[in-house]
């Protein structure tokens, strides 16, 4: 290379160096968008409140949900402007006032009105719902009864050694998931709260924790675990009871592996880990509550956590499903003294799972009217219950069409909590979180509908209490 060409090349390089970096293209340029920071996803019980939402105000939809998991993205992207009528009575379009009038009449005229659902609804709406049922001496039940209802019974029986997810993040060095598949049902449970995040006393995140998964089958959650314990279907109680015995230094049956599918060595190893950790947590799912044993399974697990406090600090938390199912437990408890399955027929609240829980009331054909809020029992209840639902007047409040809304006598299309309406929800660890809605909806919120129904019900009763059962 000659001196001249060398200089030319150097000059070119210099020009290249001075070339401004390519401008980042703003995907929102020219669009009418709004950014909502620290928004809350209310799809599952994780209630992650660190979302950054990009809202296209012209198209009236959320176009980006930063930090959302796959379920959260579906939640935010699929709740868009709907075109279905706001109110239907017997399948025909009606005004809001007509819908409220029809709903209030159904509730006041019924001998055994019930309400069910509420777990995808704000605490403020749940409070109004309890007020309505208290006024008409009806029955209050939530989706808890077919979720962690048995755990609710177990809490009353054996208590709960508890913690917030913040404590788990900062302190837990042994994390056990029993009967659940968070990778698919609560994807950020691992990454935001319990496995990978670095905490105050867990500086290296997952490296400082041991993760154990207990289930009847391998799931997408299994690779996250250091230890996978596969239990025979229906044998969780036996394994939990054996662990309790071993923790207390008692003998267990020699054929425990034959009975449960779990070897003595695996049980001994887990017992040592549980007794010697600094802070252990047992997260449990519906693999315990929906199977043979139900509340006994949850009770055995809660008792195991309590037993372990003789050696170290150990807590247990149910992994809750819908966004505000924990709020439903809290609100119904504040107002009636009981978390679900509460009946006002005698003018005061009575709690009796099996008697006042919705599956039973419908399957036995006892309820003669039902107000279903943000839930779809006509698709996920037993057949006998669904058949009875088809015979009684149903009032439905939901954001989308469901099988329940399709059989409802009065159907309200409502806006989505957390996306269109504000309010309070409880995370699965009983921490209340205030919602920051992203955009308005053409539909009213369920609180507005419920307040209108409540006011009309009270007017129809003219200040008198509804009938009281003998």
């Amino acid at each position: 290379m000659t001196e001249a060409t060398q200089t030319e090349a150097q000059a070119k390089d210099q020009v290249k160096d001075k070339k401004p970096a390519p401008k980042r293209v703003d995907p929102n340029a020219g669009k009418n968008v709004k950014i909502v920071k620290d928004a809350t996803c209310t799809f599952c019980g994780c209630v992650c409140d660190d979302m950054e939402l990009t809202v296209d105000l012209d198209e009236h939809r959320i176009t980006k949900a930063k930090k959302a998991c796959v379920l959260g993205r579906a939640w935010f992207y699929e709740h868009t402007v709907d075109t279905r009528p706001a109110v239907l009575i017997d399948g025909k379009e009606a005004t809001f006032k007509e819908g409220v009038e029809a709903a209030a009449k159904i509730l006041v005229d019924a001998k055994f009105p019930i309400t069910y659902g509420m777990s995808d609804s704000t605490c403020e709406s749940q409070r109004v719902t309890v007020d309505i049922m208290d006024t008409i001496n009806g029955n209050v039940d939530t989706t808890t009864s077919v979720c962690h209802g048995p755990s609710g019974m177990a809490f009353q029986g054996v208590g709960e050694s508890t913690a917030t997810l913040g404590e788990v993040k900062n302190r837990a060095d042994l994390v056990i998931y029993w009967g659940g598949n968070p990778a698919e049902s609560h994807p950020r449970h691992f990454t935001r709260y319990a496995v990978t995040p670095k905490g105050m006393y867990i500086p290296n995140g997952k490296k400082d924790r041991t993760v154990v998964l207990v289930d009847v089958r391998r799931t997408p959650s299994t690779p996250v675990a250091d230890i996978f314990m596969q239990v025979k279907p229906g044998k969780d109680f036996e394994v939990l009871w054996a662990l309790r015995a071993l923790v207390k230094g008692k003998k267990i049956a020699n054929d425990i592996e034959k009975q449960t599918g779990v070897s003595r060595e695996v049980l001994d190893d887990l017992v040592e880990r549980m007794k010697n950790c600094q802070f252990g947590v047992l997260f449990f799912g519906m693999g315990l509550t929906m199977t043979r044993g139900r509340h006994f399974n949850s009770g055995a697990l809660l008792s195991l956590a309590a037993d372990l406090n003789e050696f170290t600090h150990f807590v247990a938390k149910p992994v809750r499903g819908h966004g505000n199912v924990t709020g439903a437990d809290n609100v119904v408890s504040w107002q009636t003294g009981y978390p679900f399955g509460v009946n006002f027929n005698r003018g005061y609240p009575r709690f009796n799972p099996g008697e006042f829980t919705t599956t039973d009331l419908l399957s036995r054909g006892e309820a003669d009217a039902a107000m279903i809020i943000a839930s779809d029992p006509a698709s996920n209840f037993p057949k006998a219950a669904i058949e009875h639902m088809k015979k009684i007047p149903i009032i439905s409040l939901d954001t989308k069409d469901t099988i329940t809304s399709s059989i409802a006598k009065v159907c309200f299309a409502v806006s989505t909590y957390g996306i269109n309406t504000g309010g309070t929800v409880y995370r699965m660890d009983d921490v209340p979180i205030t919602l920051r809605p992203a955009m308005e909806s053409t539909y009213p919120g369920d609180q507005e509908v419920l307040e209108a129904i409540r006011d009309r019900v009270k007017k129809l009763l003219s200040g008198k209490k509804a009938r009281v059962a003998a």
């Binding site: 699929e78 077919v146 990778a183 089958r217 519906m286 929906m290 199977t291 008697e355 599956t359 996920n380």
Partner: protein, 114 residues
């Protein structure tokens, strides 16, 4: 001939995303009517992916599409299906005084639909 197996309905990611689209939409119906079976069970029952099977419990029956899972991922004798109307068809209403019907580990008879 019908074979008795244990049905485990549960949540899946595709069930979660499709229910946000809408429970009356095709995707949700497809997801909740696809059952996973152990590959060895499938071979024994002369089934291939996409075949229809009838699941029958003491209270009801439903027809679903089957899909094979590796031996390591699903034990033999077990069927997994995402929660939905087909799994509800098979659920008994007795809650044993708890409010919770047995929604997992249901005994079902499996037959190929020709």
């Amino acid at each position: 001939m019908a074979e008795t197996m244990i049905l485990v309905p549960g949540r899946s990611q595709s069930q979660g995303t499709s229910l946000n689209e809408g429970k009356l939409k095709d995707e949700y119906k497809k997801v909740t009517s696809t059952a996973e079976l152990n590959e060895r069970d499938m071979r024994r029952l002369k089934l291939k992916d996409g075949d229809k099977i009838k699941l029958k419990s003491d209270v009801g029956q439903t027809v679903v599409t089957c899909k094979s899972k590796k031996d390591a991922d699903l034990p033999t004798g077990m069927i997994f299906i995402p929660y939905g109307p087909p799994s509800s068809e098979l659920m008994a209403s007795d809650t044993a005084g708890t409010g919770m019907p047995l929604s997992k580990h249901m005994e079902v008879k499996v037959t190929k639909v020709k």
